[in-house]
Symmetry: D3
Subunit: 323 residues, 6 copies
């Protein structure tokens, strides 16, 4: 069974049934004293609010088990006021992997490429690093963390917050970084490749993630330290294991420590060699291109988007001549 009713294309009349991811959920008390279920449901095409009215005490018990990040099967119809659509939910239950048997990547927000394909691309580039120490670092990180990399998102709420988002982020930065070495011949490709692969390595331990690529929040260590400080430690430990030279170890730690560039974004130092500087821009460009694509996805040609939180509240424009 494959997905039929995408959120940006729901039937205007009549009811329909399909699977969606729960993006937010709570039971609320209406001002008529009755309980209702208030949810945001999402798929790869967008997000929509839905309500189930007049929840009975028995339903309450069962609905209180539905959590953010769950897949649910929903029967609903669409209402619209002031141009805003909303679902009136009839029936709802949690997805059952045994009986429902979905290919979940059709139903959740996910990177546009297969995790395994992206992983192989990245591993290949890592294996081609000429410097032995750097190659060992990059390859070891990939091999040790293959399972989680295949589904981990790049963030909880910001850019690349989607299944396999972290890997997609690494892969496109890598593509761009390799090209940058063609133009800026003062850059050393080994450092670019290794730096890109490791720069966010501790996102894996800073945020938590379900296997659907949804992050329910930060880990204990993530809250206390953040992936930048964690990454510096992780390089230190791995470098001792693979026997990386002292100077190179500290340079790699510097790349991680400086890649957010500004103190208020978590980097206490600024890059002092060109590959570290370029790493920052590769990271920024990839984040921004993701945010632009994401925010313009459902905008009609000739229109502006809503304010985009991750882009300082800008309203983005899609030209009339874009298909």
């Amino acid at each position: 069974m494959s997905k039929e009713f995408y959120i940006n294309n729901l039937p205007e009349e009549g009811s329909f049934t399909d699977f969606y991811m729960v993006r937010a959920v709570s039971l609320k008390l209406g001002s008529n004293g009755k309980v209702y279920l208030d949810m945001n449901l999402g798929d790869s095409s967008g997000e929509i609010n839905g309500k189930k009215w007049d929840v009975s005490p028995e339903e309450e018990a069962s609905f209180s088990k539905i959590k953010e990040g769950d897949l649910v099967k929903v029967r609903a119809s669409v209402n619209e006021w002031n141009g805003t659509k909303q679902l009136r939910i009839g029936r709802i239950r949690k997805y059952d992997p045994d009986s429902d048997k979905l290919d979940v990547s059709d139903y959740v927000k996910a990177a546009p490429e297969k995790g395994t394909d992206m992983f192989n691309y990245v591993l290949e580039r890592a294996s081609a690093i000429g410097d032995e120490g750097l190659r060992k670092m990059a390859v070891k990180f990939l091999q040790d963390n293959r399972d989680r990399l295949l589904y981990y998102p790049g963030a909880m709420r910001n850019h690349h917050a989607e299944m396999s988002g972290l890997l997609y982020h690494i892969k496109r930065m890598l593509m761009m970084g390799i090209r940058a070495c063609e133009v800026y011949t003062n850059l050393d490709r080994d450092w670019i490749v290794c730096g890109v692969i490791l720069h966010d390595m501790e996102k894996l331990n800073e945020i938590e993630s379900t296997e659907l690529g949804v992050s329910p929040g930060y880990s204990f260590e993530g809250k206390m330290l953040g992936h930048i400080a964690q990454g510096v430690k992780a390089v230190e430990l791995m470098a001792r294991e693979v026997g990386l030279e002292e100077e190179k170890k500290i340079m790699l730690e510097h790349m991680i420590l400086s890649h957010h560039y500004e103190p208020e974004f978590g980097s206490p130092v600024k890059p002092v060699f060109p590959e570290a500087e370029m790493l920052h821009y590769l990271d920024m460009m990839d984040a921004k291109m993701f945010d632009f694509e994401d925010a313009l996805f459902n905008v009609e040609p000739g229109n502006f988007s809503e304010r985009v939180r991750t882009l300082d509240g800008r309203m983005l424009y899609k030209p009339t001549f874009k298909e």
Copy 2:
């Protein structure tokens, strides 16, 4: 005759004679009541301070005609205290194009590629733009300004302050921008190419320049408006001439207006479509890569540079394993 005594490689003993560019010059009164000439001399390898002591009243008259940006012929010897070298100048006179017949690009700070080669590369890309209106804009700008583009610097004092620096800046941004379109397929190459070519177009009228690519300062209009506001006007006028559609004209103006990104750097608006966003990063990367190369040029492997003014006072590092 070609250059013999580069500033980063002057003879430690004895005197020598060669041509240098005047980077700063003034006549000063010593605290012994005598006048001396105090200069900074430069070539493509660096810059050095020099002094000519006990200037006579007749010399005063002649030396007062030497200006920043002039080429001068100098006879001098090297002194050193505390690791800082200084020239003791014996004789000095201005370069005479008729009798001295130099290929000046050997003697001044200049982009590493020939101006005409770079111009041809850029013009070729402009001519390949698919959108008719954008192509006309880019090609017209290049053709109308060919002469000055061949030698204009990119700035008075910051990145690309060198002969043909503006063209070098455009060319490398273009190389990188075209590659970015391969990775970020949501980008429209026509807009990237046209935006890169036009983004700094009014630098030609914001700063002044000698034909050696040295800017003595800002123009009247440059001081009153700045190249960003000037650029918006220039697009408006050129767009009316070539008949560019209204929407595209305003989008191009938006690209120019937003490309410095932050209000405090001169952009009152932030980019609202992806090509405008990318333009900013192409600009930043090219500026930064230039600054890094420039600042590390004379640094020995395993050492840090002096503080770099254009990079927030950072001291850059050249690894021991760099040749």
Copy 3:
């Protein structure tokens, strides 16, 4: 028929009927599952929230045509909780210019003087400019834009967001500017008068406006460029038309470009001649005096206002001895 029931003086008991401007409107789903109409209604004396409960499907269709900025005829009564008044709306329909025949300026927020009177005052000052070029610029702008100037507001939401607000802003700045020339004799009155008249000229094309002086939002060009960059372009084009000298043209453009003073408010350069500096303060003073009058309008003597958004959240004070 003239206005009877002002919002700051509604009858506490019984119902009443009058015309009001719609300041905000939406159809909402109550948590009892029924639809209601939620509106903010305004006139020159203030603003009040009103609700019409239990909207039927037929009413929905008709109510969905009521937009922000419309005049509506309303029958309602007043409720009050916790000192906050609210309307319970009985009947409501849109204003019909043919049958209702109102003098709309009684019903909407408008400047306290007639548009035509203010226009004549400003035009007279423009015509009295001694410098030929500046006079042509100011007069041409006024004559070309007379129709819209008569009703355009000065802003969408900030100071002078009212019918004829832009003209009222220009007029009072002009009165103050002419007086400033008496005190600060280094100021050239021609430049003050022309600068004041043109400083916000492109507000006419940055924001849109109904003929009731309500702005539904920014134009395409307004969003992409803003009235400051638009104004620089507009001066350029008009100056070419009337044959203004180069130096004066650039000085006028500088006045417009610098009049917001701070980069974060849209001015990439700061004023460099005294008339440009004074223009900024005339603008600020007029904006602030407007905001103070507006915010204190309904405050009782001896009391503080609510926090005023446009004045950094200040709570303003009206002394006990003010009538």
Copy 4:
């Protein structure tokens, strides 16, 4: 005897003799081991550096008594390098009021109007205040401090740092404030007049001043508290003396406390009634107009000034068409 040799018009050849004010002075050891006297000399037309070489030990003793702010009689000739003029001083001694008998206001930087005339203008406006309490406050302050007001500067180094500068500042703000009440009829003239007169009252106790209007520095209290906090205290004490009502007393204190507007400029609160708001702008305008006049005084038409420290380093422009 009246002044003959103004600094902006000194003879290019030969020596001359006149009186100047000492703006800075120190004895220095030349790098030839000899002592020389290094001074900045000023009059109302400008400032110039001068040096007296080869100071003997006896001269040292006498020169060490010359202080900043003294008038001195100087015999000197003019030298020039790189467009910068400098005095070579032959003889120098301190002014002797008994024998030299100058009208000092010709020799120092001073307001363009007589102190007594300005004082009378201000006192007249104070006496015309309708509100009894406010009138008593303003009149009492003026009468109690007449002597110092006649010569006090408005600052140590910033705007109005000249003889009678404080009074000139008050007078022009008053002229402008009275005019503002004509335009902004919501303003109460009594409050504007009283607020303007008292706003900087404690400058008299924050900075010290010689009777030539030169401030050698801040007082103990000025360094510890600043004139704003001092002013609040001073109003409190004077209000108790004249019996001003509580509400009015606190409003006056608020005007003083808020008139610098921004915390970083010394105002912990922002104005909350319109007269307090206007006071701030009157103060700013007057300071800025002073700085513009001052900085453009010696600039040739068609040129830019040096960077002006008190105007964020701007370079100001004097148009070609200004005489």
Copy 5:
């Protein structure tokens, strides 16, 4: 009768009756057109939202007399959705001091020590000041304001917003300040003790307070000036009364004026002697320790708190090994 049902330990089933303080209250119109009462109730253990549905017109009249800061007697039961508890209120009436006879400190948020004990500790330290002038200042302030000090909170909403909070703040700062003098022997204990006692003296006149230590808001003078400027005035007046020397008076005023340290927090000057510097840190430490204790009070070991507004939105951690 003593308190039985603390908010952090309410019965999960059945209804209960007890007294609570009203933290927020309003009558609201439900979207079913019926009125309900919406309250936040608090005691020393926490705060909870409660609602009384279907308020009748007669009840409306009586409920509209319940204000923030009142004690009320409530009969209610607990509901819970999504882990958030809420009260369904049955009956509610105001506390009657005559018949209810409570020891109110059990029912409100209050400092953990008796007001009189704390007062005696502070007075004792004041009486032990060696310097006569400082001793008179500190003792006089305490004696003149004993009554209000016993119950006044330290703030309206921030740290020490509880009954006797101001005194608790002074007492713990004093304990810490005396210890600081043992370590930093350059500190003069008399100045530390006097400075701590007086630093917030005008909080008594900046905010208003009920005798339950709840502040309904700022006073007129508090809004216009703030406790720092008020404190400077108060020291001036008291110093004149007790005959404190000029230098010491100004130093005390400086301590008050500078103790918030940063302009944006209300201090136009920074401390210039060590006791003034230390006063700032004593104040900060005490505020922060209060906020940490307060925010972690109801957090379970091994968990993070909600975001704490007064601590820049941090989420605080209580370790697993804390009891």
Copy 6:
């Protein structure tokens, strides 16, 4: 032999001989074309500039070996102009440990207590930590680094830049921290003691130091990472060695990471438990008290200091009644 001629008490007439530390040194070319030696010399009482004129070529060779941080034996006399003293140096040579046999702590800037005494105090407190893991961490750090701790300064140029300065900083923070636990009983003393001891542990590897406690600069790792990131790594490695529990390890790392509090001072996270918060204030207080003592050391009662760079340019005050 013990020190006789302290810099703040040099003989006004005649010459003298003693040992001083070189604070800055360079050979310069005078504008009479002769070389001279320009030095700043220091001891525990202050710093003074000195010059040796007419350096011969042989002397040049020998003087060029004198470096910042050396002890030198100097014969000199005092000159004074404008209240500034300067040394005219006759003879100068480097200190020879073999023949000169000084107790160097008399001759250099050093903490007022013996290094070994302070070390023992700190070690005793570390040994008394109740929690086994924390005790092992603190004790191990002290024992492993005893040698360097005895002389290391706390900084290169800021607070505690003196011999044994780092240990003095730790010791006084510890004294204050232990006292803070008496007042704020929510603090856990073990964490305060351990946190204080470890907070700057990697200063030992961030800056370099001679055995006289003078830091010539930052280490490679210090420049690339900084002592905060280095400290996080160091705790990680030591914690693995001593077997500290995971939660406690991360809490210690958090204390180090957060102790500078603001991102712009190097802390990417803010403290989230009370001991981490207090650590920051202990650090700040100790730094500030050091700076105040240091800056006021040579100020006369009733006077202000020069502007203090480390205290935002404040001029500090020493009251008249201070001995």
